[in-house]
Point group: C2
Chain length 326, copies 2
Amino acid sequence: MPGIQFDVVGIGNALVDVIAHADDSFIHQHELVKGAMTLVDTDRALYLYRALGGAVEMSGGSAANTMCGVASFGGTAAYIGKVSDDELGKVFGHDCRAVGVQFRPGAPGVDTPTGRCIIVVTPDAQRTMNTYLGVSSLLSPSDVDTDTVAKGDVLYMEGYLYDRPEAKEAFRYAAQVAHANDRLVSLTLSDSFCVDRHRDDFRALVTDEVDLLFGNESELMSLYQVDSMDEALRAVRKDCSLAVITVGAEGCMVVTEDDVLHAPAQPVDKVLDTTGAGDLFAAGFLYGYTRRRSLVDCAHYGAIAAAEVISHVGPRPLVELRTLLP
Amino acid sequence: MPGIQFDVVGIGNALVDVIAHADDSFIHQHELVKGAMTLVDTDRALYLYRALGGAVEMSGGSAANTMCGVASFGGTAAYIGKVSDDELGKVFGHDCRAVGVQFRPGAPGVDTPTGRCIIVVTPDAQRTMNTYLGVSSLLSPSDVDTDTVAKGDVLYMEGYLYDRPEAKEAFRYAAQVAHANDRLVSLTLSDSFCVDRHRDDFRALVTDEVDLLFGNESELMSLYQVDSMDEALRAVRKDCSLAVITVGAEGCMVVTEDDVLHAPAQPVDKVLDTTGAGDLFAAGFLYGYTRRRSLVDCAHYGAIAAAEVISHVGPRPLVELRTLLP
């Protein structure tokens, strides 16, 4: 069995974010689902992009943001995701490597462009995402670098990616490689609509493979199709040894076999853009977890990272998160 | 003679900025010329990009920033500059059109990629620019849309572009079209190193064609190869009916035939990134000028726009500048 080389190995949709500001009237006029992630085709992506004001491009992708957060804390991280050999693909790879994340881009040779996520930030700091997946969604088991997964203390998979049969197989494969090497398997549910589209498959994956589950309240209730958090917590306890459920500004719940720990969020002077809040929360938690810190500390590190990323525009930290550790 | 459709028509290097933060040690280690614009080839651009941390991409280009500023004040602006049919070219065109600037991309059909400017922002908020010009520098007279120039109240040309014989011819041609239509011709000197490389040609252009000259102290002294501002002011007065010379945090001097007016800068709480300061100053001045405001007001509008752009990262305004007008 290989030794541990990475604290966390992430798998997800490799996307470049295209971020623009707009009023709520823009959301209504173009019938966007505020606060959610909606998948769009090329035409719709072009249409929305044309309708938007001046934009800024920066690397994003949920699990990739998380891996950059882990590295920013001083942890070691690798990322598996598909980009194309185009400018945005190069930008994505650069921005991973530049912060010390090992980038495993999967097999090349596909003509589909690098995926992008058009993010509309409204004055209330909420982000509404419209994702053209491009090549990112074509991830299949052959793109999963077995050696990298085997060397990761924790495998972290992003629910957003879980939209195509090949990706589902890739998740299964990666999880099995991880478990065969005695590694921990974690998953973030990502989005309640995504959970809704693939509930049965998500449920099976969580039951069979997931040790540590990340999500928020609506995602968890959608997963188990229940109306109360009590029921959801009872259900997730049977499936996973650990679940971490974020509750927005209220902080999070850390659910173990016999306990639910409530941890507060970190106060922020002004919330400017909530993009990346969940991703960076997971980064802080995972950094603490792979350092064998207490669950209270893990939740606290998550809160620190989330507070940093929502206090500015963009989904990745602007300061070295290690400098914010207590 | 066609009517006026645009307050200002700008011509310049169409560039996408790649912005990253780094310490002064990065500047020294890679032998960059702090605060200046240095032209680099593809290899050097790739080398610097690899050495840099995570970056953000946003549209830039000096005269393009100025045109976006004019539009942000509520003026009408067009922009002539060359991009390629690649992702960065599309980003550039989008960001012009998104703020209402008419984009005239020139003749297509060249394989050279869209130009980019690698900007290193140091903790003192200074920007050090390394420009790979790409297709932007290939602008020639045939790329100058005669009709657009003829319909612009003021023509505004960017000294940065003035590095190749074809571009010099394009400037001459555009200036002659403007003058034939009784329009005002303005030029920004852009950079003292650029002035130094092409002093004779710049001098001839200023003498023959330029009515309104923008620059800072070092650029003006480089243009006339003099050691004192008094000498420089005497010289520029002979060449241009109006010159506007910025003096950093001291504000600016507005030089007319028989007067020098000193106008203050607008105070800023915290300067975060000086990129675009000169570009946006020119935008405010030109907006006032095309509205036939007093020179004091023109300088004040310039100061307002410059203050906005240096208070955040990025070379273009984040708020509608019209909302900042007194």
